[in-house]
Symmetry: C2
């Protein structure tokens, strides 16, 4: 029996999404570029999913472009915008210190092409201050990028405030939001929030791996990252991943329809885990926000005295999957850049675990995890006392 509390790393594909992918692989296997009905049917499947995706963020379908993953979406937004503005004078980017590596490393790649990058630190609670980002904006700023929900702490960032402030400036500064951890989970309105680019990924919401999207506001000029056959209106060449896109559409529809009930369920799981740990009288610290500034599906806790990697090992013995830092960088033997940016003491950096939930997780699972965790922490602390 596995208890999977690592849903921010990736999720199990939902039965309906998997069934849809299978159906498309077997039956609707045409190439959307083909002119016969098998091709047109595939094109229609893609278009249906595009409409579902648009609905999730208040966009128009024509503003949604499917990609191979959230990382591609992030790379494309940055590099495609830079390429479109290569002959202009804007050579400055503003990002936050708590972005996903797909943003941090992409910004670094652009530094090699003459861009200056301002990296803005969060407050101690992990939340960015909109005014701190705005303070870095100057005449030369091409793009500001801020994630919606941090993947390690679940802290919600003030994207509406940032977007509206940027839109009120006298010169155009583009705004990109990495919404990989919030898409189809939290309400997002790209129009109200004045967002120019928004990245999302399928496999964080029970669609298969290998599918992502980028919202590009109508009228915004961006060049493709992938040149070729001209798919996605010439913006993203490569034969469309029709089964992945179809399954993404199903997963989005399920997520929107079940948003409230899933959220309540995850809230209950999150609370049960905290309550369980408190009952066990284990000393721990939360690196997440338990109020309206945090999502209930990501909980980052530290257990000083118990190194995260040892805890992981203990939990795994009980069939429990959690992560130390984000999975994407978890094989690197370094402390989380997010928690470091929050200026946490070393003991909390070294002992932090991320628990991330899906709508399928249960309160019973949380209770089991609390017990297993408390036992592990006690044992590890005991060993270290000797």
């Amino acid at each position: 029996m596995v208890i999977y509390f690592d849903n921010s790393a990736t999720t199990q594909v939902s039965e309906k999404a998997a069934a849809k992918a299978l159906e498309v692989m077997r039956q609707n296997y045409g190439n959307p570029s083909s002119l016969y009905s098998l091709g047109l049917a595939a094109e229609k499947i893609v278009q249906d999913a595009r409409e579902k995706a648009a609905l999730a963020i208040g966009a128009q379908a024509e503003e949604i472009y499917f990609t191979g993953c959230g990382t591609e979406s992030n790379n494309w937004a940055f590099k495609g915008l830079a390429e479109a503005n290569r002959k202009g004078k804007k050579n400055h980017l503003v990002i936050t210190a708590i972005e996903h590596p797909a943003i941090l490393q992409t910004a670094k790649a652009l530094e090699n092409h003459g861009y200056q990058v301002s990296v803005v630190m969060p407050q101690k609670d992990g939340r960015m201050k909109a005014s701190d980002l705005l303070a870095k904006v100057k005449e030369e700023t091409l793009l500001v990028s801020c994630m919606h929900v941090n993947n390690e702490t679940g802290v919600i960032q003030p994207i509406a405030e940032i977007g509206c402030a940027l839109a009120a400036l006298s010169h155009k500064v583009y705004f990109h939001v990495d919404a990989v951890q919030s898409f189809a989970k939290l309400p997002i309105d790209v129009k109200k929030n004045k967002i120019d680019f928004l990245s999302a990924s399928g496999h964080k919401i029970h669609a298969p791996k290998g599918i992502g999207l980028l919202y590009v506001k109508k009228g915004v000029r961006i060049l493709p990252l992938l040149n070729g056959g001209g798919q996605e209106k010439g913006m993203r060449s490569g034969t469309e991943n029709v089964p992945g896109i179809a399954a993404f559409g199903v997963a989005i529809a399920e997520a929107l329809a079940q948003r409230k009930i899933r959220m309540q369920g995850m809230q209950a799981v999150c609370e049960a885990l905290c309550t369980g740990l408190q009952k066990e009288q284990i000393e721990f610290y939360s690196n997440s926000q338990m109020d309206e500034n945090g999502v209930p599906y990501i909980l980052n806790l530290s257990f000083p005295g118990a190194p995260a990697e040892v805890l992981l090992h203990y939990l795994e013995q009980d069939g429990i999957c959690v992560s130390a830092g984000s999975a994407c960088s978890s094989r690197k033997d370094i402390f989380s850049h997010v928690l470091q940016a929050m200026d946490l003491p070393k003991e909390r950096l070294a002992s932090s675990l991320r628990f991330s939930f899906s709508g399928s997780n249960t309160v019973e699972e949380a209770q089991i995890v609390a017990k297993s965790l408390a036992k592990a922490v006690r044992e590890i602390r005991g060993l270290r006392m000797k």
Copy 2:
């Protein structure tokens, strides 16, 4: 009943490959970067597929990098190599006029970054002459790219000759092969043929859409196209498309195991189509090579007097799927750039159809298509005579 003769546009996913994708989506859904066993199992699935892919081209597993599609592989080879050599003095590329748009358009994008591109024409039979490509190589040449099998005509290009000639030069010129239409179908030996980069795609060999690969010769320096979490040894960030990769591995193994029997079957289908048309006494021309210079799974025929798009429409009435030009550009109302480069007369350009086969196609299907096609050609020609 559909007769699908458009397997170079895309293929139906094989039952085994689809079942594997489904199994991974449902059960092995871990993130390969995760440290617990569910993650390690996913990592092992990726590694198994990598070994299968390497086997297909005589490479080592560590030289295979999974991507989102063949187009991404092609873009990455060109742009990643250019980026790695940005500070060098090499600013010249040699490509053929009959490459896929993913190469042609990528080379064009690099022209905007100061690259000169020599575009070499094929001979009238659609085959490139190695010496014509070599003649364009100069001190400043960074990369030569030649596809293995042309996607519109099926003509096999002399990649061994080109690769060995480039390797014999006193200065290093990299060699890229777009093998999307030959991977796991024809024998390829990247070592013997001195290939530095090779692109392949899953959905042309009965794996799902959304998965491709790039072979990068060990020791060759190339920078990533996608920056981020450091997957694929930092060369291609983004959570691995594990179901797609797993299914790709299955499809490769099937293709290799059944290579001979599939090839014989497709040869029979190809011959049956030609024989059937001859029996019907319909005037037609082959734009393909029927000997050792062409593959039996792509047959390009022209029916002067019968416009391709009208023929497509007639065939579709009978449930027959073929393509006019390559599917990737089939919605653009222009003649095939490949057939134009072969200097075909306008009547043949305007009336060319591509028939492309899979191992599942039958001689009976070819006979039905020949009949349907002959009827259509006669009717259309008759209408135009009036």
